[in-house]
């Protein structure tokens, strides 16, 4: 029972039993996905491949079966077909729920890297056959890999099972490599230092190439509890190993975000040009110093439900206050080329103003927010930072400049002179309460901030500091700086910073499920589809424990995946209810919203429906405070 929750779910068994599911990328344009032939040279030899794949895993067993080309792609179309949201000129752009199969990025550059030193067909076929034999050969695959926890050696588990083990969330591992097999990023340092690392990279590259050879794209390998998912964004390949039992779409979504983060640093255009010039370019050199962004991004992705629902999470605040703040942020006519002005607190958007013609993509905001919360910026004693950043959804081939300044109430007005006073950081320390700094930095430690300045987690969500970001197209820093200085002064002068700080200190910017007083309700996530925003209560008992939270989020992700049919399900769902021994969860999608809720497992299903209705009523009553509904444009 513990492994197989009673799940009255309507999944089709056809997706179930194939441990290795490869779904066709053939609907794209196979001709442009010609296998990158010469790279096979750099792959490990055939014999070594066998060894490493053995080390890779213990439970791959059935022959590789390629499912019909169209069976599991384009989840995005299905999600949008479920409900047609009317969105005209919204603040945020509704992103396709599944971005992972957007073909453009993937195909665009593949052709560029094909060189002429062709390995002859025979050798290629041999390699392919051999690889398949090896992967199929269960006997040869008992050896344990040094990097993978051995306790996961288990009997093959049917793909459809929901593995929910409250105690086993080994950190996911992420890999980024070039299509020439060169490492770009590894999420765990010790992996990079291990001996198997180079061959692991070689193996991944070879695996991917073998399928590309067939005009196909490998999506994932299910191996016991581990699932290895892949994302191909030539010239980069991405892979994730996870044993959490989340849907494939989730880890691929993480990989897509990783890709966006890399683009934000180097821009897609620069990336393309560099690899066009030199296929074996070592991207690590160019990314040096940016690894931090990727680590913090991955930490965010683990718990941030706004990211996983492709939406934004705004700070809950009085609508009049929000409006007043937004009015201050609207650029005067003197300052040119401002793209967005964003005010943040507690890691969430308070408000943002934008030009009339540009809505903003939630994922661009997430990338931006993640970037500016890098310790070297948020912890800096500098009064401001100025960084070039590529906002991939806005324009993936160009950089914009972000002016970033962090401030506190009582300090902002002295913007010019503050940094020279060393008491600034001293007072930061003085105010902070003793807190346990969560290892991942995402634990909700309310109203307090990490006590050590040098060891801050990447996302100090609860430092009562405001971040002002001005994204501008021009490089005239001085103009932007004086404009932003005037903004912060005005926010202070008009008492807006104080009002917001008070609201935060009084806990008005957050709420708990008990505020809703719905019996049995433990947690929920409500996404307003027209606003492209989510709201959710603080994590409460039992979900203040990280592993409990991971279990809950994984369940939400399963619901989300099924409702939107993101992993190749035959159709989308309107509603799904899952009961496990720990809790029951329900996902429900309607025209105006998407709702995920968790209840005590003892609560009957009918009560879950009532709870969902009650949440919807509560949210619509609170809507003005919960969501950023209208912000001025310019």
């Amino acid at each position: 029972m513990s492994k197989t929750p009673r799940t009255p779910r309507s999944r089709t068994p056809s997706r179930v039993g194939t441990p290795i599911r490869i779904t066709g990328g053939t609907s794209g344009s196979p001709s442009r996905l010609i296998p990158p032939v010469p790279r096979l040279h750099s792959a490990p030899s055939v014999s070594s491949l066998r060894v490493h794949s053995a080390g890779y895993n213990s439970t791959i067993q059935t022959p590789i079966s390629t499912s019909p080309p169209n069976s599991s792609i384009h989840g995005d179309s299905s999600s949008s077909s479920a409900v047609n949201v009317n969105q005209t000129e919204g603040i945020l752009i509704q992103e396709p729920e599944v971005e992972v199969e957007a073909t453009s990025g993937e195909d665009g550059t593949a052709g560029a890297h094909i060189e002429n030193t062709a390995l002859d067909d025979v050798a290629r076929r041999q390699l392919r056959d051999h690889l398949r034999r090896t992967l199929t050969d269960t006997d040869a695959s008992v050896a344990e890999s040094g990097v993978r926890p051995s306790r996961h050696r288990a009997k093959s588990i049917e793909g459809d099972e929901v593995h929910i083990h409250a105690d086993s969330y080994p950190p996911r591992q992420y890999f980024v490599l070039t299509d020439a097999g060169k490492p770009v990023f590894v999420s765990r340092q010790e992996v990079e230092e291990s001996e198997a690392f180079t061959s692991m990279m070689g193996l991944m590259q070879a695996l991917i190439s073998v399928f590309l050879d067939d005009g196909d794209k490998i999506r994932c390998i299910n191996a016991g509890k581990n699932r290895i998912s892949f994302l191909l964004r030539p010239p980069l390949y991405y892979a994730c190993v996870s044993a959490w039992g989340e849907p494939e779409s989730v880890t691929r979504f993480h990989l897509e975000y990783l890709h966006l983060q890399i683009i934000s640093v180097v821009s897609a255009e620069q990336l393309r040009r560099m690899f066009e010039r030199r296929g074996n370019f070592d991207l690590r050199r160019l990314l040096s110093g940016a690894e931090r962004f990727m680590h913090s991004l991955l930490a965010r992705l683990e718990f941030d439900l706004a990211m996983s629902t492709s939406s934004l999470s705004c700070l809950r605040i009085d609508p009049n206050l929000r409006k007043a703040v937004a009015d201050v942020l609207v650029p005067t006519s003197k300052i040119k080329d401002v793209l967005y002005m964003i005010l943040l607190a507690q890691g969430r958007v308070i408000t943002l103003v934008r030009p009339k013609k540009h809505s903003i993509h939630p994922s661009d905001i997430h990338i931006l927010v993640n970037t500016i919360h890098a310790p070297s910026i948020v912890n800096s004693s500098a009064s401001a930072s100025w960084l070039p950043i590529c906002l991939p959804k806005f324009n993936s081939s160009a950089f914009v400049n972000a002016y970033v300044t962090f401030m506190r109430h009582g300090q902002a007005s002295v913007d010019d002179t503050a940094p020279m006073s060393p008491t600034v950081s001293a007072s930061v320390q003085g105010e902070s309460e003793e807190t346990v700094v969560a290892q991942d930095g995402s634990v909700e430690t309310e109203g307090s901030e990490p006590s050590s300045t040098s060891e801050r987690p990447p996302t100090p969500h609860h430092a009562p500091e405001f971040g002002l970001v001005c994204v501008s197209g021009q490089a005239d820093f001085e103009a932007v700086r004086s404009w932003c200085t005037s903004v912060t002064e005005k926010l202070e002068r008009e008492g807006l910073l104080k009002a917001m700080t008070d609201a935060m200190h009084k806990g008005k910017t957050t709420y708990t499920v008990s505020d809703l007083s719905i019996p049995g309700l433990r947690h929920f996530v409500y996404k307003s589809r027209p606003h492209v925003q989510v709201t959710m209560p603080e994590y409460d008992e039992p979900y203040n424990d990280n592993n409990e939270k991971r279990r809950l989020i994984t369940l939400y992700q399963i619901l989300h995946d099924n409702i939107h049919a993101k992993s190749g399900q035959e159709s989308t769902l309107k509603l799904q209810y899952i009961r496990t021994e720990h809790e029951s969860v329900m996902g429900w999608i309607t025209q105006p919203f998407e709702l995920y809720l968790a209840l005590s497992p003892l609560i009957p299903k009918s009560a879950a429906i009532n709870a969902a209705n009650a949440i919807a009523r509560w949210v619509s009553k609170e809507e003005k405070r919960l969501f950023l509904r209208d912000a001025p444009v310019f």
Binding site: L286, S376, S385, P419, M420, S454
Partner: protein
């Protein structure tokens, strides 16, 4: 509040200064020491560029340094002109334990001399001398100098003699000779101990053509109110005090 702050700026001379140099040589640490008199081990790499200000008093003048601390990573190189374009001063930092960082510093100097403001004052700073000093317990500068002179003589017999001078890859003489030849101010510094940091900014301040800046920016700055109340007493580093090792001495 805002008025008080702006009032203090009236008589200050703004000096734009840019820090350049290879990644991880300690540019941000040098600035942090100067601006906040702090040191953080394992600092994260700077992203893009950070903007800081610090006021200094030199004789009867108040200088307001507007400092651009740039990122050293290769991918940010092309942005550098934006920062040094209008700079009156530049500090090019290298790491004395890394020979290649001096080479990078030299290319920065060349670029500055070719493309920056022709009157720009350039200082070359060899950072991380704490790594080649015997032990931080003896802070007397005499022994430090002796150490530098000794260069590749017998390794310091002190507690960490093994790691002492051996780490040094750029001899002081060599860098100093280069600096002289290229017409740069030269310092060896330690952001960790604070040694030599304030001196950089003091010497730059002395070399900056202050009157010229005042003359050129007179139109822009507001005419000073009663000059008696300069912010220097409260907000700036007193450059005359740089000999004082007192931690609190030179900040705010």
């Amino acid at each position: 509040m805002a008025d008080a702050a702006s009032g203090s700026q009236d008589r200050s001379v703004q000096v734009k200064l840019v820090l350049l140099g290879e990644a991880a040589v300690g540019k941000s640490s040098v600035v942090l020491r100067f601006v906040s008199n702090e040191f953080q081990a394992n600092k994260e790499p700077t992203i893009g560029a950070a903007f800081l200000t610090q006021k200094c008093r030199l004789e009867d003048r108040v200088l307001r340094y507007e400092i651009w601390d740039t990122a050293g990573q290769e991918r940010f190189h092309s942005l550098a002109p934006m920062y040094y374009r209008n700079a009156q001063a530049a500090v090019v930092v290298y790491d004395i334990t890394k020979a290649s960082s001096l080479e990078k510093a030299k290319t920065w100097v060349k670029e500055l001399q070719r493309q920056a403001n022709p009157n720009i004052v350039i200082a070359l700073a060899g950072n991380k001398i704490d790594l080649v000093q015997p032990s931080s317990t003896s802070s007397s500068s005499d022994s430090v100098d002796a150490e530098d002179e000794a260069d590749d003589a017998t390794a310091t017999p002190g507690e960490n003699g093994e790691t002492g001078e051996n780490l040094r890859q750029v001899p002081r003489d060599e860098a100093e000779a280069y600096a002289q030849e290229a017409g740069l101010l030269f310092f060896e510094t330690s952001a960790k101990t604070g040694e030599g940091i304030v001196e950089i900014f003091t010497e730059i301040a002395k070399k900056i053509p202050i009157e010229q800046i005042l003359a050129s920016s007179r139109g822009g700055t507001r005419p000073g109110a009663a000059g008696a109340r300069t912010a220097g007493q409260e907000g700036g580093v007193n450059l005359e005090q740089n000999a004082a090792k007192d931690k609190e001495g030179c900040n705010c």
